[in-house]
Symmetry: C3
């Protein structure tokens, strides 16, 4: 089956609670997200889905929630509140540690289904680069 993929980048801070090494420090990454859609048939224009539709919808959500923000575990609310009070930003909390794995799973399982309800294609895969040398796929 044919698939199409759109790459979207964003900058976000995070930290891994209970990590034994420097991942426990608050830091940031230039994340690169690849969103892959698949369809049984191409649409009338000859596309799985317009690349720009994926970009606009996903980038809209990313810009509103992740980009130039901090993603924290919900166990990290004391830190999050300290940051939010000082900068005025709305911290994005995940149920667990904001590892690349958990960020990708959250996007795949909870965010994408809400963003894409059109049944002509499905979001079948996400690839999330935490750095140019480290990525996860779900």
């Amino acid at each position: 089956m044919i698939s199409c993929t759109r790459k979207i980048e964003f900058d976000a801070g995070h930290r891994v609670v209970d990590h034994h090494s420097k991942c426990k420090f608050l830091h940031g990454h230039r994340y690169v997200l690849e969103v892959t859609a698949q369809a049984e048939m191409l649409n009338d224009l000859g596309m799985v889905v317009d690349f720009s539709l994926i970009k606009n919808i996903v980038k809209g959500w990313i810009d509103d929630n992740f980009d130039h923000n901090v993603i924290l575990s919900s166990k990290d609310k004391i830190l999050g509140q300290a940051i939010a009070e000082y900068t005025g930003q709305k911290i994005y909390y995940l149920a667990n540690n904001p590892t690349a794995e958990n960020i990708a799973l959250h996007l795949k399982m909870e965010v994408m289904p809400k963003l894409f309800t059109d049944s002509s294609f499905q979001i079948v895969k996400l690839k999330l680069f935490e750095t140019p040398n480290c990525f996860v796929e779900v």
Copy 2:
């Protein structure tokens, strides 16, 4: 099973007939094509197939047909003829819109089977980047 992949680049113009936005304008891309071959067993040299054999055969076809050319829908022959009369090039027509999806499908279903008849390996996948941020896989 083991696979080997060769990347090949080309520059081509296209437009998407009936697109609601700027993809309907004649424009061009630096396409990047990844051709993946798979074999049950490695050959005597220890290869699925020599990378340079894929490159020579596919790049030969690409250079003769797609590179520095315009790929158009067969519904776009009036435009194609106007260009061809002016420049002398031989426009490449697809049955439908020259989206990344249709270009990749055409290469996979019609071109590759003619280029590779050696039964020791199969072309199992094509990945076609329309831009560094947009690609299809078939």
Copy 3:
């Protein structure tokens, strides 16, 4: 299932015995290896496995065996001994030609199982770039 991948680079020389063209000459590449691990469940930190654990273990082995070394077929011991006598390096021999395919298979089948005995994740895929335009997957 979710996977995580760590990219590791190394420089090594090789040659392909009996190749009809210039691959028979001793030469070198900047190899890029992508090591993909998969797990049924994420660990307590929310990871398949810490990216840095894969890097440290695999890069340790790569640095000790492949990086700044020459990888040769065991049929190529006369050449290997001539080099080793002159430079003092410990040539790395494979049973067959050191093609990208055979290097990747050797890493996947023989090296990885010895490096990773933790049963909480498996090394499910290796992708090895011989050049930026040529890679194999196993």
